[in-house]
């Protein structure tokens, strides 16, 4: 009886130990990625912008449609490249009238300039899991060089076994640099953009 109880206690302790081991938060996965071509997964990626209204408060909006490709080589970052394309007509600020106004010729002129894009020209390591990515940002028909910081947020495997990689970047532009200068009293010149991208190997 006593022996049965001891065996039971040991088994319970073992089970609890196993359980505690499995509920421990997994460490962030930053396994090195071999040179791979990735396609942006629009379902698990987000692009958000922030702009100040009437010099009072920030409001946030997003682009519902964007995509692109990232060729990422962690062992040789300078060989990496990224091309991201945003559908300007997919702007979503949670207000239909405002969306119509943002898409109009007052701002994006989505009829004439249906896409905004970023094409990288160079990648440089800038610390652990971060890269300085220089490239050309085209918005409203105007192309200007910018440098943004890409943070590699993780790597993994998809359900089909393909490689996954995540990046996030936040940067600020002046809309007037891209010829979108209407209503400077109503909307700030500076616009902050954030892209959180999950991309899968093709």
């Amino acid at each position: 009886m006593i022996r049965t109880a001891i065996v039971g206690l040991i088994a319970l302790a073992g089970a609890l130990g196993l359980a505690s081991a499995t509920t421990t938060a997994p460490a962030e996965n930053h396994a090195a990625v071999a040179a791979t071509a990735f396609t942006v997964d629009p379902v698990h990626s987000t692009s958000v912008f922030r702009i100040k209204h009437m010099n009072v408060a920030y409001f946030y909006g997003r682009f519902d449609k964007f995509g692109g490709t990232i060729n990422f080589d962690e062992s040789n970052p300078s060989a990496s490249s990224a091309e991201i394309e945003v559908d300007t007509a997919s702007v979503n600020s949670n207000n239909g009238k405002r969306d119509g106004h943002i898409k109009s010729k007052d701002f994006f002129n989505a009829a004439e300039f249906p896409t905004a894009s970023f094409k990288s020209t160079s990648w440089k390591p800038a610390g652990e899991n971060t890269f300085d990515v220089a490239g050309d940002l085209t918005l409203h028909g105007v192309t200007k060089p910018i440098t943004v910081k890409f943070e590699k947020t993780g790597t993994g495997k998809s359900r089909s076994g393909g490689a996954l990689v995540g990046f996030e970047t936040t940067f600020t532009i002046k809309r007037s640099d891209y010829g979108i200068s209407f209503m400077p009293e109503g909307l700030s010149d500076e616009v902050r953009l954030t892209f959180s991208i999950e991309a899968g190997s093709t």
């Binding site: 009437m54 109009s104 010729k105 007052d106 105007v142 200068s181 209503m183 109503g186």
Partner: protein, 279 residues
């Protein structure tokens, strides 16, 4: 919309229009009508170009990055073409020249539609319609160059166009139509004060070209745009029987009322309709 932005489209055009008319008229001398033709065209074209630059924050550059920003250039080109068209003898020559000039201007604005085979035919049809409207309005101004009838009707028309553009979610276009309305307001005051001054004749090309140019640059206004052009053309009815026998004040009142009705229909037909709630 901040009040300062709205005032930009009203105060500068009124000041420019009055200043140009005053300089051309020089009321301390004997009135000479010929300079007034060029002056009214210059007043409208300069007011538009200056206001466009103020509202947009910068001159469009050459060539402009956006098609609708050809309009300041078109305003100035229409100003240059005005003496040529007014100098033509025979109404059909003037109409044909106006149509050709308008077609050249609208080609600049609608180049992207014309360059795609899928939209070429519809774009050409719209262009032809608005060229005909422009020639028709120019002819009306040629026949009825004096008095407050046309400036009042076109003040109402441009104001209606401004509301239609606002209800099509473009404050910029609304402000530019507002600048045309402001100039027409100044012209209306001048013609009420001195009805014999030929203020209207000179703007027979610049006004309809700018109005049609704004409408064509914003395709979402398509059905409403035709109603706005109809509003601008209502004074033509007073050249025909039985309206040509009406007393001037009654004919002016009827034109203004008809233009207002067309504008209201245009606003009703715009994407925003009568929902004037902001966001």
């Amino acid at each position: 919309m901040p009040i300062r932005t709205a005032l930009l489209s009203i105060v500068p055009p009124v000041l420019i229009a009055l200043a140009v008319l005053f300089i051309a008229w020089r009321p301390w001398r004997k009135a000479d009508l010929k300079p007034m033709h060029a002056a009214s065209a210059a007043a409208l074209a300069l007011a538009y170009a200056v206001t466009e630059t103020l509202v947009a924050g910068q001159w469009p550059g050459f060539p402009p990055a956006e098609q609708h920003r050809w309009l300041p250039y078109i305003a100035l080109a229409a100003l240059l073409a005005t003496p040529f068209i007014m100098g033509l003898k025979g109404q059909w020559r003037a109409c044909a020249a106006t149509t050709l000039v308008a077609a050249a201007f609208f080609t600049l604005l609608l180049w992207s539609g014309l360059s795609h085979s899928s939209s070429r035919l519809s774009t050409l049809l719209w262009m032809a319609t608005y060229c005909a409207c422009t020639a028709f309005i120019q002819r009306t101004a040629d026949v009825r160059p004096c008095g407050p009838r046309l400036p009042l009707t076109w003040l109402i028309t441009a104001t209606g166009a401004s509301v239609v553009f606002l209800q099509t979610y473009s404050a910029f276009f609304a402000l530019m139509a507002g600048s045309i309305a402001a100039v027409m307001g100044a012209f209306w005051v001048v013609t009420c004060w001195r009805p014999r001054l030929e203020v209207v004749r000179g703007i027979g090309l610049v006004f309809p070209t700018l109005l049609a140019g704004l409408i064509l640059s914003l395709p979402a206004t398509a059905p409403s745009g035709l109603l706005i052009m109809a509003a601008a053309a209502t004074p033509a009815a007073t050249l025909l029987r039985p309206f040509n026998g009406l007393k001037p004040w009654l004919a002016t009142g009827l034109c203004a009322a008809a233009a207002a009705v067309f504008c209201i229909l245009g606003i009703w037909n715009s994407p925003g309709g009568f929902d004037f709630g902001g966001y």
